[in-house]
């Protein structure tokens, strides 16, 4: 019996070694096995990066003392085009600076609160073992500095955030970020790493209402966000600022959700995550379309890029993507691979008016508008693209509408009575009776004031110059004048 036992044990180990699923059921020991002894060598100053960049791997095989210096700055920044908001930030950005350490490291944390801050702040790092996650030790008045030290005992991707009263407001103003605690062996090498964090924002004005927008406490309590954003601003990762990759490369995203309220259905349109380290933990799931990221949680995901094009990062709770701003682009360059993908759009319905082929003309027009060289042809091209997304559902792509339901825009005697009626109707909508080309219509068109002045000008110009309408041109300035003073009262969302 005694002789038999070791043989049995050896066999069991052998079997476990062959089957990865069994290996996965062996735990890493968590914090109890996360202390690798005292820090070795000279203290290291942590490399902090602004989103969407990620610091390089620590590349260390022994525990070190790592010094992190993070400054809290209250500052006004753009939340959308022509809209500003007073953000409270860790390191001057939303989300705050990315911190990267290795399991077993001793982290000496310095929290500075800028002298011109109005509020005291502190930090709770979910990667800290200890009451409050550092919050009680880092409460810092304006113009002061606090220090505390912790040992990073658990590997994983963790959210940090401010925990000063009123906590919800500090978080809603952008006070969150990510800290990565690498496992001792590091993470598998990839070609690209990016840092993305979702947050919901509550302003007194409506979505895209211009000017400075204060925080709206009532909406925050009701959990009715005005904006749902990646990296703190609409367009933070689109156009020139899109994330970049090349075909044949592997990409790892570190995605957090600061909240304060919403849970994210994180998805990349046109990609499948080869691996998701769900909840930012130790295990990965393979072949995932959409992963859930709770408020105050994070996940890592990895995919290999086969086909060039733009991949759209969205919160697949989809109204947030198209009506509240939760949209970013990863642009992959490289050779087409028609065996894998023929070139048509996969997710046309979701891409809507922001679909790629459309963006070309719109971008050209926007660029030309900036330099003052916008031609009427460019406006018409951009307007056609925008019309296809926003207007054609009802008015039809040929402008004929649906008789008795949606009035025609083609050869319209109503439009002929005044070209300004077009931008005006787009801005303000229309309710009630209207007679067009001899037929009565009585329905509701909602105001499309989420469109920018540029967009409305281009759509109007396109309509005026299409389908035998009499021609004409509407400029951005004219639309801006029409928009006039924005509605003062705060709409529901």
């Amino acid at each position: 019996m005694h002789k038999l036992f070791p043989a049995f044990l050896a066999l069991a180990l052998l079997v476990a070694g062959c089957d990865s699923r069994d290996a996965a059921s062996v735990d890493t020991g968590g914090s109890a096995k996360g202390d690798f002894g005292p820090p070795q060598g000279e203290p290291i100053k942590a490399v902090l990066t602004s989103p969407p960049q990620v610091p390089p791997p620590t590349g260390r095989s022994v525990p070190a003392k790592v010094i992190v210096e993070l400054e809290v700055v209250e500052k006004e920044m753009a939340i959308s085009e022509g809209v500003t908001y007073t953000f409270w930030t860790f390191g001057g950005t939303v989300p705050g600076s990315f911190i990267r350490v290795r399991q077993g490291d001793t982290v000496e944390f310095h929290l500075m609160n800028a002298p011109d801050s109005k509020m005291p702040h502190n930090i709770d790092l979910h990667g800290v073992t200890g009451p409050g996650g550092g919050a009680a030790s880092s409460f810092t008045a304006p113009g002061h500095r606090s220090r505390f030290t912790f040992k990073a005992l658990n590997a994983g991707l963790y959210v940090y955030h401010c925990a000063t009263a009123p906590v919800g407001m500090h978080v809603a103003n952008g006070m969150y970020g990510l800290i990565l605690v690498e496992p001792p062996e590091g993470l598998p090498a990839v070609d690209r790493e990016y840092y993305v964090m979702q947050g919901d924002f509550y302003t007194t004005g409506r979505y895209r209402e211009k000017g400075h927008q204060p925080f709206d406490m009532e909406k925050a309590i009701a959990e009715h966000p005005t904006y749902v954003l990646f990296n703190g601003a609409e367009g933070s990762m689109t156009g020139d600022k899109a994330l970049a990759a090349r075909t044949g490369e592997s990409v790892r995203l570190y995605v957090g959700n600061g909240g304060p309220n919403l849970v994210s259905s994180f998805h990349v349109i046109g990609e499948i995550f080869d691996k998701v380290w769900f909840e930012g933990g130790t295990r990965f799931q393979e072949n995932v379309q959409t992963t859930l990221i709770p408020s105050g949680g994070a996940a890592m995901m990895e995919f290999h890029v086969e086909v060039p094009g733009s991949y759209v990062l969205v919160d697949h709770s989809i109204f947030r993507a198209f009506n509240k701003g939760a949209l970013a682009i990863l642009k992959a360059d490289g050779e087409e691979n028609r065996e894998i993908y023929s070139g048509k759009e996969v997710d046309e319905m979701y891409l809507g008016d922001r679909a790629l082929p459309n963006l070309g003309a719109v971008t050209t027009a926007a660029a030309a508008a900036k330099t003052g060289e916008l031609t009427i042809e460019q406006q018409i091209d951009a307007g056609r693209a925008l019309f296809a997304g926003t207007c054609s559902t009802c008015h039809q792509s040929d402008g004929r509408g649906l008789e008795g339901v949606f009035p025609p825009l083609a050869k319209s005697d109503w439009i002929a009575k005044g070209g300004k009626r077009v931008p005006e109707t787009i801005l303000r909508g229309m309710t009630g009776k209207v007679t067009v080309n001899g037929r009565d219509y009585d329905s509701v068109m909602p105001p499309m004031n989420q469109l920018t002045d540029d967009e409305i000008a281009n759509i109007s110009t396109y309509v005026l110059n299409s389908w035998d309408n009499g021609g004409g041109r509407v400029t951005k300035a004219e639309v801006a004048a029409l928009r006039g003073t924005p509605a003062k009262q705060s709409a529901g969302e």
């Binding site: 500052k75 011109d116 919050a135 009680a136 008045a141 000063t164 009123p166 009532e218």
Partner: protein, 261 residues
């Protein structure tokens, strides 16, 4: 003694007459007492706290007023003030120890003041710092109501100041409409020291509701807040509990109060 100017005694004597106003007798208003529901939870006060009548200074103490005090109390000029009572940035925005200079106009509220210095100033006026309850009671009023705290528009107005960083010069005192008692600038200008600032029992981790480390705090003051929607009050308490009595910041000033004789 580095930058202390030496003035002949006769000059010191007439300076207060040269427009560098000391507090005038009518700079205080009497606030009638009453029963008040504080946003902070006090023990055995389900029906509210009784506030005795008191007097409060109409506006925060200005640079000009504080200059008069510093001249007559040299132990409180920034060179002499001991660092245990006033940190090294005490009055650091003045151009000299007895000279506010252009960065600190006379009518602007004085800031970069420690709690100890604020208290000594009030003593010199035969007054004291207001208690938290006195401050909160007066600050609950708007120009027409004694208690405007339930009005979302009123809260929003207060919050809009809180939500902006202090990176622009401070306005003069007395620019905002007086509240129903005749007191100005309780909101929208500077944070203000209160007498019992260090007894405000707010944990430095404000989520530890009820489990706060009580040993770290003295006094039987507030454990938690009773008015969760009143973010403005929460933020003020958080601010006051983040500073030590010797600390000073660029947006923390004070005003005085006194008992009704």
């Amino acid at each position: 003694m580095r930058d202390v100017r030496r003035f002949p005694p006769w000059l010191l004597a007439i300076l207060p007459l040269c427009g560098q106003a000391a507090e005038s007798p009518d700079s205080y208003v009497t606030i009638p007492g009453g029963v008040f529901k504080s946003a902070l939870r006090y023990e055995d006060t389900a029906d509210g706290v009784r506030i005795l009548p008191y007097q409060m200074k109409r506006a925060p103490v200005t640079n000009a007023e504080f200059l008069v005090f510093v001249r007559s109390h040299p132990e409180w000029n920034r060179v002499r003030a001991p660092s245990v009572l006033a940190e090294k940035r005490y009055l650091s925005h003045w151009s000299g120890a007895l000279e506010p200079g252009s960065a600190a106009p006379p009518d602007q509220p004085v800031t970069w003041i420690s709690w100890f210095a604020a208290r000594s100033y009030c003593e010199s006026q035969g007054a004291r710092l207001p208690t938290w309850l006195e401050w909160e009671y007066a600050a609950a009023a708007d120009p027409t109501r004694q208690d405007a705290r339930g009005d979302p528009a009123w809260r929003e107005q207060i919050l809009s100041w809180y939500a902006r960083p202090s990176n622009t010069p401070l306005p003069r005192v007395g620019q905002q409409p007086a509240n129903v008692y005749g007191v100005q600038d309780l909101h929208g200008l500077v944070w203000e020291w209160i007498d019992d600032a260090s007894a405000l029992l707010v944990s430095s981790d404000n989520r530890e509701q009820g489990a706060a480390d009580k040993l770290r705090f003295c006094g039987a003051a507030a454990l938690s807040t009773d008015d969760r929607e009143n973010y403005a009050i929460l933020m003020r308490v958080a601010m006051l509990s983040s500073v030590e009595p010797a600390d000073a910041t660029g947006n923390l000033g004070f005003r005085c109060a006194r008992d009704v004789k």
